[in-house]
Amino acid sequence: MTERDPSTAENAGIKADLVSAIPALRAFAVSLCGNPDRADDLVQETLVKAWVGLRSFEEGTNLTAWLFTILRNIYYSDYRKRRREAADPDGAMAAKLVAPAAQPAHMDFLDFRAALQKLPPDQREALILIGASGMSYDEAAAICNCAPGTMKSRVNRARNRLAEMLALTDLRKATEESEFV
C-alpha cells in the first residue's frame, strides 16, 4: 500500500469536519463525566488523538461516531479512575450538567436529571447516544462495543427504569401533554 502526506486541502477539510463535531462531542463528554472542565479536556484529547490517527478512520462512515468512540475510550481508561479518586464517588457532580438552565428548573426537570444519574452507566450511555446524540443502534453499538440488540435492550431498560423512577406524576404529565400534540 502506497502512502503520501495529507494535502493542505485534505487537512483543511478534516479540520472543518472536526470543528463541526465539537458541539456534539462536548455534550457527549459532559454526559460521561458530568464536569464541564473535564469534559472539555476530554474533547481536547480526543481531537488530538483523532488527528494523529485519522488514517484509521474509514472514509464514508460516521466521523462523529468515530470521535465518540475515541472519546469514550479515553474516558473509561483514564477518567473513571480519577473520578473514583475524586470526592464525588456517587456522581453527585455529574447530576449538575454544564448548561445553565434556560428557564428556572422545575421539579420535573430536576427529577429527570437525578433519575438519569441513577441509571446504570451502560443504560444511561445507551439512552444518551440514541435519545440525545442521534446515533443509530448500529453506531451506538459500535461506539460501546456491543451488539445492536444489546443496545436496544439497554435503551428499553433505561426507558422503563426512568419511567419507574419518575413515577406516575410524570407519566400523567406526559399523557396530558400528548393530548395537545
Binding site: 462512515t61 438519569l116 435519545g131 443509530s136
Partner: protein, 118 residues
Amino acid sequence: MVRKVRKSPLASPLVNQSSADESDEGSEAGEASALASASECENLQPTLGSFPSSDVGAPCRRDSTLLAGSRVGEHIARELRSIYEPIVAQPTPDRFIELLNRLEAGAIYREKVRAPEK
C-alpha cells in the same frame, strides 16, 4: 450465550474498544436484517458532526423507536434533548479552534494517508 464479534463500521486499530458492560445481553438475531438496512441508508448520507434535531434528517437516522413509540418514550426523549441541546448550542470555545489550527499547521503531524492502489 456466545457473543459474536461484529465487524464494526467504525473498525480501526486506533480504536481499542473498552467497555462499560454491566448488564450485557446477547444480541437478538431478528434485529440483524432490519439494522443492516438502516445502516445502508445511513451510509448514503454520512453526516459529519451534525447534531440531528427532531425536524431534520433522513428517517432512518433516528432509529429510536423504543423512545419515540410511546408517550413515556417521547417524554424521556424530550427531557434528554432539553438537557443536551443547550450544550450543543454553545459557541465552540476558542481553545478548540486554536488547537485545530495548530494541528492543521503541523504542530502535531498527521500520519500519512493511504494512497489508492495503481
